[in-house]
């Protein structure tokens, strides 16, 4: 008897759950084209509390920015909340809050690839006017990462671009990828390390070569361009590199941290990594023995082209204090603050002027090379289904690199899988 009662309770709870979830589909927030437009003027006289949410504050930049902002705007009390330990975790946590329409966060620190996805779900406010007001001082490629369907949905905070670190006493400064691989093959100690594990980092590494070769994944209209001779050339090139030892097969297991540690062991000649590695390299016995170069070109055809990293600031559609959020954006996009981003926190600023500032050059001697990389960078495929596209790319590239698939099949698979992704309901 008791068993029956309990079964009844469980069934009832399940039914209630189903009913509640049915009631959950409320009126959808304003979709992309009709999202609330943020007025830059609203920042005047902003007050109250501001909540900014994002990833780990590894170098203290976010706390520093919030503190400096509060000093300059005594009427606003701002706080920064860490959402997740990794970029993916932060995205999951941000999405959870946005789907629950929570006003816990007025402003989100968004990775550059999230813009189309968040915008198309109506989670962000239209920041075109705000970004237009400040974009003269910002590097155009960084502004491009905030744009989707002709509008701007965020304002750049800081950026990131790949660099090549090379052991000056062993190898020459690379002008082209071909030269780099040739030098690397000359001796096991000259090898190249990059991020070749089957994850987003491999997509970035692959795209850096693909863009340099003049190839593309999808164009502005969304047409699939990846089935091209450039893609095949790059895939063959990368696979050959692993076969002949230019890149140690170990790269198939490396993400950013592991590749940095491998290079720090001194057993390699080249490393493709982000700028943050510079400071850590200088703390090892390798200090003074390595040089920094921008990403090389492919075949000497055009300038090397990379992929942008970095973070933007976006205002939540459910923000309770958007005016204060605009005030923060106005604050952090000033050339003055962008200088601090580089000098005090060693991050790549989105503001162009900072790269030629003597104080910055002192802290980051490779600022010129970095600026070249940032300016030449193109955005990763702009699409709300970016994560599926990236998975299609890195899975198939990995298959070619590890030898489980040939180039032709991989290219066809990539094109098919991207087509399926774009057809997502």
């Amino acid at each position: 008897m008791r068993g029956r009662t309990v079964t009844g309770i469980v069934a009832a709870a399940g039914a209630i759950g189903l009913a509640l979830s049915g009631c959950g589909s409320s009126t959808p927030p304003s979709a992309g084209p009709s999202a609330p437009v943020v007025d830059p003027a609203s920042a005047k006289g902003a007050s109250g509390s501001l909540s900014i949410c994002g990833g780990r504050d590894s170098v203290g930049l976010y706390k520093g920015a919030v503190d400096a902002f509060m000093k300059a705007n005594p009427g606003i009390s701002a706080k920064y909340t860490v959402l997740g330990a990794t970029t993916d975790e932060s995205r999951t946590q941000a999405i959870q809050r946005l789907q629950a329409k929570s006003s816990e966060c007025d402003m989100y620190l968004t990775d550059v690839t999230w813009t189309p996805e968040f915008a198309s779900q109506g989670w962000l406010q239209d920041m075109t006017k705000v970004t237009d007001a400040v974009k003269d001082t910002l590097i155009p490629s960084t502004v491009a990462t905030t744009q989707y369907k002709g509008k701007s949905w965020a304002t750049p905070f800081y950026t990131n671009a790949g660099l090549i670190y090379y052991a000056k006493d062993k190898v020459a400064k690379p002008e082209t990828w071909q030269q780099l691989y040739a030098e690397a093959a000359k001796s096991p100690d000259n090898g190249l390390v990059y991020q070749g594990k089957q994850y987003e980092g491999l997509t970035v590494n692959f795209l850096e070569l693909l863009y340099s070769a003049g190839g593309n994944v999808i164009d502005d209209q969304g047409n699939i361009k990846i089935d091209s001779p450039e893609t095949r050339k790059v895939l063959d090139f990368m696979a050959q590199g692993i076969k002949n030892g230019s890149a140690d097969r170990a790269v198939l297991t490396y993400e950013e941290n592991a590749s940095r540690l491998a290079y720090e062991s001194g057993k390699f000649g080249y490393e493709r990594n982000w700028p943050n590695v510079y400071g850590q390299l200088n703390a090892t016995p390798l200090k003074g023995t390595f040089g920094v170069a921008p990403l090389p070109s492919f075949d000497g055809n055009s300038n090397g082209s990379g992929v942008l990293g970095g973070w933007n600031l976006a205002i939540s559609a459910y923000a309770s204090n958007p005016a204060a959020a605009v005030a923060f954006v106005n604050f952090e996009s000033t050339p003055e603050w962008q200088k601090h981003v580089a000098m005090d926190y060693s991050q790549a600023p989105a503001g162009e002027a900072a790269y030629s500032d003597p104080g910055v050059l002192d802290k980051m001697p490779f600022a010129k090379e970095l600026l070249i990389s940032v300016k030449g960078a193109k955005p990763r495929p702009v699409s709300p289904v970016y994560s599926q596209i990236s998975a299609a790319i890195n899975k198939n590239v990995y298959a070619v690199l590890s030898g489980t698939s040939n180039t032709e099949d991989a290219v066809k698979n990539m094109a098919d899988q991207i087509k399926t992704a774009q057809a997502s309901f």
């Binding site: 008897m1 008791r2 068993g3 009662t5 309990v6 309770i9 469980v10 709870a13 399940g14 039914a15 209630i16 759950g17 189903l18 509640l20 979830s21 049915g22 589909s25 009126t27 959808p28 927030p29 304003s30 979709a31 992309g32 993916d88 999951t92 999405i95 996805e117 198309s120 779900q121 109506g122 594990k197 089957q198 994850y199 140690d248 097969r249 170990a250 198939l252 297991t253 592991a258 540690l261 491998a262 062991s265 057993k267 709300p384 289904v385 994560s387 599926q388 998975a391 899975k395 990995y398 590890s402 489980t404 997502s424 309901f425």
Partner: protein, 311 residues
């Protein structure tokens, strides 16, 4: 029907009813808690799996019934993950049962330092799963790990191989890491089972002239059956749902993608909530079926209890 049996029946019925009432009260707290906390989220997840939610248009969703399940079962991804997960689980659990029984027998011996050995053996189980995954990753790192160096120095098989970058080898690392971490769990349960076998049982077997091996095979093992089945059920449950190890070590490459990873990718990375929920539920069904098979054919106390309904 005699008067006596009528009386016994009524007497028995009152006793039975009291027992059932008591049983109800004793199981109620657990069942009510589980119903309150788990029922709504589980019900919601089931509901989600019957729909598709638009990625391109806000708020748009459509009811597809079992459509997500059909799509999943029709494509190669699910079955590949299914096979790879079963390969992992089968190898892992088998090793854990054998090693776990061995460990339990070892820990059952009386010798000085037994307490220390018991504690030492449990240390791997106490380490956080993600940290243990990172540890094994750095152990096998081709440049900075010590295992490749030792293998190369001793010319052992597997030297010069990038373990986490090769088919088969990657699975081997994941199995090793899982066995290392969770054999103590099985050993603990089997040890407690061993403890319940009395000395007299062994003495009787010795008196009958049984050799040590015969005693183990024909006396100890059958008596250990409930403990081994219990350990196997829970280890298999966890092994079939493995996520952290393949995610950290290989991100699913080289033949190591598990069913849980597939569900996670669809659910969290691609935000295909309907499909991801369906994949989660398919995983759930798989695990429940395997558990049922275990209980039915493995025997032990749980099966006995489940069969009581029939009497």
């Amino acid at each position: 029907m005699t008067v006596r049996s009528l009386v016994t029946e009524r007497h028995g019925n009152t006793r039975d009813r009291a027992e059932r009432r008591l049983a109800g009260f004793m199981t109620a707290p657990s069942l009510i808690l589980m119903a309150l906390v788990a029922a709504v989220p589980i019900g919601y997840a089931i509901w989600l799996s019957l729909n598709q939610y638009s990625l391109l248009q806000v708020g748009l969703s459509r009811f597809v019934g079992l459509g997500n399940y059909v799509d999943a079962l029709a494509g190669p991804d699910w079955w590949r993950a299914f096979g790879q997960t079963f390969l992992f689980a089968g190898t892992s659990v088998a090793l854990e049962m054998v090693l776990g029984t061995g460990m339990a027998m070892l820990l059952n011996l009386t010798f000085r330092g037994r307490a220390l050995l018991r504690t030492v053996v449990l240390v791997p189980y106490a380490i956080i799963t993600v940290v243990s995954a990172i540890t094994w990753q750095t152990m096998f790192d081709p440049t900075t790990g010590f295992v490749p160096q030792i293998l190369a120095a001793l010319h052992l098989p597997g030297a010069g191989v990038v373990w986490l970058g090769e088919q088969g080898y990657a699975m081997a690392v994941i199995v090793m890491a899982d066995v290392w971490k969770t054999t103590p769990f099985a050993a603990l349960i089997i040890l407690a089972g061993l403890q319940s076998i009395s000395q007299e049982t062994y003495e009787a077997a010795e008196l009958d002239g049984a050799s040590r091996w015969k005693t183990f095979a024909h006396v100890t093992l059958p008596l250990l059956r409930p403990a081994i089945v219990l350990a196997a059920i829970f280890r298999t449950l966890d092994a079939l749902r493995i996520f952290d190890l393949p995610f950290v070590l290989t991100h699913g490459a080289n033949g190591t993608q598990s069913m849980s990873m597939l569900a996670y990718t669809q659910l969290n990375e691609n935000r295909l909530v309907g499909q991801g929920s369906a994949l989660s539920i398919l995983t759930f069904i798989t695990v429940m079926v395997v558990s049922a098979v275990y209980i039915r054919f493995g025997g032990g106390n749980i099966r006995d209890i489940a069969r009581e309904d029939r009497s």
